[in-house]
Amino acid sequence: MWDAILTAVQTNLHYSHLLVVLIGTLAGTFIGALPGLSAVSGVALLLPFTFTMEPAQGLIMLAAVYMSAEYGGSISAILINTPGTSGAACTMLDGTPLTRQGKAQEALYISLLSGTVGGFIGAFALLFFTQSLAEISLLLGPAEIFWIAASGLALVATLSGRHTVKGLIGVVIGIAITLVGQDAISGDMRYMFDDYRLVGGIPLIPSLLGLFAVASILGLLEKSGEAVAPLTLRKGALRSVVCELSKMKVLLLWSSVLGTVVGIIPGAGASISAFVAYGEAKRISKKPEEFGKGSYEGIAAPEAANNAVVGGALVPLLALGIPGSGSAAIMFGALTIHGILPGPRLFTERADIIYAFMVGLLFTVIAMFIIGLVTIRWSSLIVRTPRKDMVPAVLVLSMIGTYGLSNNLFDVYVLLIVGVIAYILNKIDVPVVTIALGLVLGALMEESFQQAAIVGNVDFGSTWIYFANRPIALVLMFVAFAIVVVGVLQILRERRAAADEKIVQGTMAEGTVSLRAANIILGTVLLALAVYILYGAQDFTPEGAQFPNLVGGSFVVFGSILLRVNLHPRTAVVPAQARPFAGVPWRVWAVVVAALGLFAIAIDFVGFYESAFIFLLLTSWLLSVDEKSPKRRLIGAAVFAAVFVTIVYGAFKLILKIPTPIGLII
């Protein structure tokens, strides 16, 4: 084996290998940082380029894209409050607060360094323990997968902060979204109004972009000031970060192990590993109260985990021919195109290629680290972008993320609708990240639960006896409960501390809807939704009705609690005074949302880039109210729109070759 590794190191030191690693890493970091283009889309986009390469070279390039895209996602999560990849959604919890404090650069360094550690550990695991890890992956059946997902969901107890009920509502809304469409396991067609476009459900990436990108951009509209966030460039930022990280050795190791293990489970990828690692980090942390307010640990854990996933996801791919994630599935395609069939024999028959590939993965981590280090100095300046340009730019990138890859206009509507709803919910204290949690974990939980139910019924006569007969599942179940208990204890502690001070959000401006009224409306909507969901579930098969009933039941409970609290004269005092929507520039807001809608509709008529140009011009012009000279205002907006469209066109159409409908000009 050591001989094979040594030969592989030599292979990888060849300049042509180093070059593909470099290209792959640059592309991956960039694609990862772009909202909507995740690691999967990056690997898919670069797949055609590998057809003509040597097998090992092509695979290493794809691995480089995969690895660096998982890191790149954190760049936009930290800087613009929009996860570049779904795996980075968790990173925003502490990344955004740090950016607001002017510590964007520190946050980026933490992400890069812990991502490097995680990437290395995952890659080492792949190199040295493939066979044994592959056997472990076979121990994880539906029961274990269900409880891993559940321990991710248990995080909600931690994420909801003071508003426990609102956090739970968020999670259930997320799960409710995943119910729509054809249920893969029961075959039931659920809540889709017989619309064929909904058979596949509400698409995940547009929903996540709506939740984060659109909602946070709409939030940006109400802020004054030119730049998005302050940025303090400190000398020695890197050194202080290294010093901080050296105190978290256990955390980094544990998060990387978690990431690797979640990676080997098919269907559970970077986003789930990040949430699981975050929950664990908070559970074992000495300073759990700092999580969500800009904790370094809160970035280190998910970022180490989502890079460790890469090595993990490749374990079952190489050893068993089972891809552990969407990106690994595309790499499986790349392997078969070269006539390589993954499986146990691969390690003896094609040892040269496989060892070159596994060692190459270590090289991609090094490349990611170097490129990250070089780019952080520049990328952190993004937060200084003027607001008037940042708003349309992020929206156009989100549009490419939703439309550019799926070519479905329907996905754009999802982006807009979810964005607007998320913005409003966020205003009334429903944490958006809890919705994301439900969205990411809901489908996996339901799927594995239904499978466990079928298998358990045949083998033991009951799902719960089946769980009880699986020791690993039992351990995972206790972990999930432990995360809930720790979260609840902390909430109680904080509540006791905060009991003395009176909490009133928003200003006391008259004329806008009070929090109390908004809560009553939300409660009523939830009850109405519950009736609809429970009524619809009558027609489903028993398996297909389980989760709808659970969701409907939860809506009844939480909706009633909201109404009870806000209708009772004693408990309704505080929310009656809060005015969450005060200061919202509804007119600007409505124009931007309408412009975005028009942008979407115009794509089919004038073409993608043409309509992007018009949108950029219009929005940038609209937002540059401070510019007094009308001529300069128009020229400024036009120049910005032209430059941005050119960059986007070059990157997407010319380099990545993403097909868009042919427009009037291009």
């Binding site: 999967v40 195109i337 146990p344 799926s406 097909p659």
Partner: protein, 321 residues
Amino acid sequence: MVIRNYSIAAAFMGALALAWTPANAADYPNKSINIIVPFNPGGGADTSQRTFNKFAGPIVGQSLVVINKPGAGGTRGWAELVRKKADGYTMAIVTPPFNVIPALARPKQTGYTLDQFTNICIYAVVPDVLLVRSDSPWKTLGDLVKDPKSKTGKLKVANTGKLGADLMTTLLIEDATGIKMTKVPFTGGSKSFKAILSGTVEVMVGSAKFAAKGKGRLRTLGVSSAKRSPSLKDVPTFKEQGYNVVSERFRAFAGPKGLPKNIVDYWGNVCKKVTENAGFRVAMKKIKQPPAFRGPAEAQASIEGMAKRMKALVDKYGLKK
């Protein structure tokens, strides 16, 4: 002078008119052709179609642009296809039975009916296989059928989705052999494959590629093609073993309903040339998609025949909703 000016103007107008004439059937194809692949890039259908395009491109002389429209097991992309103009500039890969079953079992929610396709050719045919673990007591299909457990529903079989191609094969096998298994659906062939490797289920029915992937750990008890598959020479067919189970998946090329006859013939001819190309055959075998050729009439008949068999199953087992 005047005449010359007129003639220049006329020539100019003529050229303009020519440029503006919508795709004239006679000079087809005169611009790039969009090919909808309703699955993710890198997946089985995508790789097959890209391989096909690689060899069809030089014959057609226009660029063949793959547009991935993933979602809902392909039905979303096919629903888009049938809504396009039948001018030969939007075509798609169809993968019967995956486009057939939803139209039969969930007609209300599927965005098309089966008569909305013009099927042009079938360029690859993949059979299904029945797999058990190597350490299981069943050495042959006969052993499995004779095992009393196989009649009680105590054995679990992994299927891809609730209404996938392999469910239909499973039902056919159960019909022919009299065994009865509990179906455990998984979201994707790889997950079914993992379920049998890990012992969550005892039996898997899936695409023939899993026979090669599972070598060493799994045993293939039967293949659902009419004759032995060249890539699985040592695996007997169900027919050989006395059970009438023939079930295949097609990689086919299709356009919207009402495609002009000359365009159908044009593509039928392209398909023929592509599938005769030795390079194409090697490339398809590499990706475990055995190449085949059935021209327009034959492809239409094959797919209609499949739809008929599927409909019988859907009716018999009450799968329609």
